[in-house]
Symmetry: C2
Amino acid sequence: MVTLAEVAQHAGVSASTVSYVLSGKRSISTTTRQRVERSIRELGYHPNAGARALASSKSNIIALMVPLRTDMYVPVMMEIAIAVATTARTHGYDVLLLTGEEGPDAVRRVTGSGLADAMILMDVELDDERLPLLRGTHQPSVLIGLPADITGLTCVDLDFKATGALCVEHLAMLGHRDIAVIGEAPAVYERHTGFAVRTLEGLRSRARELGVRLLHRPCEGGYDAMALTLARILDERPGTSGFVVQNESAIEPLLALLRQQGRAVPEDVSVVAVCPEQVATQASVRLTSVAIPAQEMGRHAVERLVAKLDGRGADEVVLISPELTVRASTGPAPSSTT
Amino acid sequence: MVTLAEVAQHAGVSASTVSYVLSGKRSISTTTRQRVERSIRELGYHPNAGARALASSKSNIIALMVPLRTDMYVPVMMEIAIAVATTARTHGYDVLLLTGEEGPDAVRRVTGSGLADAMILMDVELDDERLPLLRGTHQPSVLIGLPADITGLTCVDLDFKATGALCVEHLAMLGHRDIAVIGEAPAVYERHTGFAVRTLEGLRSRARELGVRLLHRPCEGGYDAMALTLARILDERPGTSGFVVQNESAIEPLLALLRQQGRAVPEDVSVVAVCPEQVATQASVRLTSVAIPAQEMGRHAVERLVAKLDGRGADEVVLISPELTVRASTGPAPSSTT
DNA sequence: ATAGGCTGTCGAAGCGCTTCGACAGCGTCT
DNA sequence: AGACGCTGTCGAAGCGCTTCGACAGCCTAT
């Protein structure tokens, strides 16, 4: 293994000079720099990460904590994770993958050991038990998601409240007076996952304002669960003509069931989805949807974090504005043409 | 930040003693151990990762290289990644997430810098350009996937050749003589991704042996692409009564299209999928399928790797035997009852 | 009683890097 | 011409840990 000292000897300079060539923290003459760079190349030198971390107290690693559970939005998570890793690299950071399994202990371990310089948390609950730890440390962190109390925290998220509002607005504008919301699995609400709860808030408050009726039903994914949920909804509110779906694995089942029952989309019922772009365009009906900008969220998170690590930028909440794209799954409510 | 030396002082012992308490590499009297452990707890000590890595030349980090592209099997990738992270933790390792983006350079960087002790590669191509590097280093590695030349390599994968064979067998046994294979996107085959190619090999050779006709068509996911692909298949082989699908995002479209054309599953046509269990059970028809054991693959990979790191275990190929679960999407071929 | 072997502990020498202060050499200002 | 400030380079002191050899104290075997 090639060391700094060997490079220095090969180039005929001192070790510190090589170090300064690498870091650029002091000016080095062009000739010396080139000689050193040549030696580095010829010897195939790679700085030792451990030694670097020890000497500089910086690991150049960002920890990313992903949820262990895979009951929702797996592709979104993956896309965020990949965006985080890619963006981090462009800033000279590597990414350490932590699962939620260890919970708060992982936060303690990572900050305590200096394994990572900063961390990004996904799947944040409204009252997440990791938050006090984050507030208590000087290590920068960014949440992807929005907890209830954001003091002292930096968060990046889609504005899910606005998302909910937007969906209701769109349907209301088309004349739908009875709207059903197919939500995530009950467990997601039970653990107070921010995005689900906030979407619901947005849906409800806008519905109230616009005077439309809203029925929310959590739903496990899959056909059987969706069939049951749909039956109950139509039983309770037979006049339902608009659906908002926030659950990837319920979308296709819903469309199939509606078709099967002879309810045409969008002639008889309209469907708005909150899902990744790809899902909306690849579904059996091209879906009117609000996209979940996974890449953008991952990128933003890293950029906030790097800013904090560089001493720029303070705590702040970045809420990405939702955009509703009209496709083929929504149209005027049938009653409104009567 | 608490250091080893402070713990030692607090406990009234030398630093090396504390170190040995932590590592267990030398025997320590019970009383001393307890005193040290108490100090560790009271001071909230966490060993510094960088210093450890430097002194021991071990980082206790495993690098996991995931594909950048998201054109296939995203949930499977995610599940593997999570299984890798979880299993690694139980062995005292953390996981560094690398995207395929940097390609071979990432391998060089990680092995050169001692950032990680070992690495796991996913999405291996038959003639992957990272392989020579892996063979040339002394750093242990495990591939998830099977390249063409496995000398000097450890691989973990589902036995996709057997998987293909199994699917054909099942359909042939039911009397289907004309089988169509809906494959991954063309790009997947073009870059010679091992699992896709091997499945195809298994399908073809078993089909030849059993004397059934096989038509393979790559397919991008989604309804439009599937509609086109299906039309072509039925045009070319109108008698097709069995389908093998190896493309998550083509499954639901296929089922919907068949339904739409009045072809009942499984009465008129049978469908076998190669997909994660969850997809098979949540589809609109409960699918006869060969499961992709993502968790198991991730776990196996880590366990092989840890064995190598411990000096146990040599190069070897672990091929997980496929299991076909019969559900509601396959039945006797219509002609065979005539 | 003595040699030999354990057991438990300590001190010290690094691991490879960063960074601080020092300073030689040179150009510039008065 | 002397003082001053740059620029570019060096040496040395750590960063916090692991690990090796040494050794004190004790037990066992002779």
